[in-house]
């Protein structure tokens, strides 16, 4: 085994372990952290450094072991980097919406609800929708919104 190979092995192994570790930490965060908004931070690790390390390991591994160099890993990274923030954004919106409509189900977290932005605006998820306001605040009983959990 040549020195180059040993270095490659070390690098690959390190990246693999790093990737695995971050995937685990991310999921640990997901399991452990107290509120959804906090938990959202966990998987970002898995997405970015976790998968990223594995991909880099793979990009090193194949040429190092005499196989053709592949670039698909880059593509996967690209897709993940494009989609992960949007996923997080949409999940956060869904969560915010849930907190707004069913506060009892979604116990308020440490950070509480975000304050409205200035200039008579609100966050897009909340908007200023009279119909919705009525539905949430009116609670006349007959609307009986569907329960989600």
């Amino acid at each position: 085994m040549s020195g180059g190979m040993i270095i490659a092995d070390v690098v690959i192994s390190g990246l693999l372990l790093l990737g695995g570790a971050f995937a685990l930490i991310g999921s640990w965060g997901l399991a452990k952290l107290p509120s959804l908004m906090s938990r959202l931070h966990g998987p970002t690790k898995a997405t970015t450094l976790g998968v990223g390390s594995c991909l880099i390991a793979s990009m090193v591994y194949f040429p190092a072991y005499g196989h053709a160099w592949t670039a698909h890993e880059l593509l996967i990274t690209l897709f993940l980097f494009i989609t992960a923030p949007i996923s997080a954004n949409l999940i956060a919106k869904a969560y915010l919406h849930g907190c707004r409509t069913e506060p009892d189900e979604n116990a308020p977290a440490a950070e509480g609800m975000p304050v409205a932005p200035p200039h008579d605006a609100d966050w897009a998820t909340f908007g200023r929708d009279e119909e919705l306001e009525e539905m949430i605040l009116g609670e006349t009983g007959d609307a009986s919104p569907e329960r989600r959990s």
Binding site: I25, H72, P85, A92, A110, E111, P114, P117, D122, R128
Partner: protein, 162 residues
């Protein structure tokens, strides 16, 4: 020209992606990829009516490198938070970041960057499009964090997007 190459940057990107997928360089692949890279944006142009007005120059590359670096650093930081910080000691906070960017693409890129760097997640935008709602896992000083984000990312993005 605009009809043939509605998004020249996109075309270039698609061609690159094609070559990456082919995993080998050949004239045949290049020609075919070129054809596809031109045809696909022509079809999808309808779904992307405006050019984002983006400059594919060095600042973009530098920005991306910066983001990658920040991702790595922040990852370790957040990993520490998750592993060693008790939940009740965390200082989660909402940040309303005032926006100077005004194109949807630019703001999305900013929001994406914020989300990708662990510790902060872009959660929403204000109805007037002037504020970005960001959640931070652990911040001591929200105002400083907002200033940091604006200085580090938004300023650079202002250069990239005219």
């Amino acid at each position: 020209m605009r009809r043939i190459l509605p998004h020249p940057g996109l075309t270039a990107m698609l061609l690159l992606i094609w070559l990456l997928m082919l995993n080998s360089f050949s004239m045949g692949g290049l020609v075919l990829g070129g054809i596809f890279a031109v045809l696909v944006p022509i079809y999808t142009a309808a779904f992307w009516p405006d050019r984002p007005g983006m400059r594919w120059r060095l600042p973009l590359l530098l920005f991306l490198l910066l983001v990658v670096r920040d991702i790595i650093v922040a990852n370790f930081h957040v990993a520490r938070l998750i592993l060693f910080r008790r939940n009740r000691d965390l200082r989660p906070s909402w940040l309303a970041i005032p926006l100077d960017l005004h194109s949807a693409e630019a703001i999305t890129l900013l929001a994406g960057t914020i989300s990708l760097t662990p510790g902060t997640v872009s959660a929403d935008i204000s109805t007037d499009g002037r504020h970005l709602l960001v959640h931070a896992l652990d911040v001591a000083d929200p105002a400083a964090e907002i200033a940091h984000i604006k200085a580090r990312y938004e300023r650079r993005l202002m250069e990239i997007f005219r």
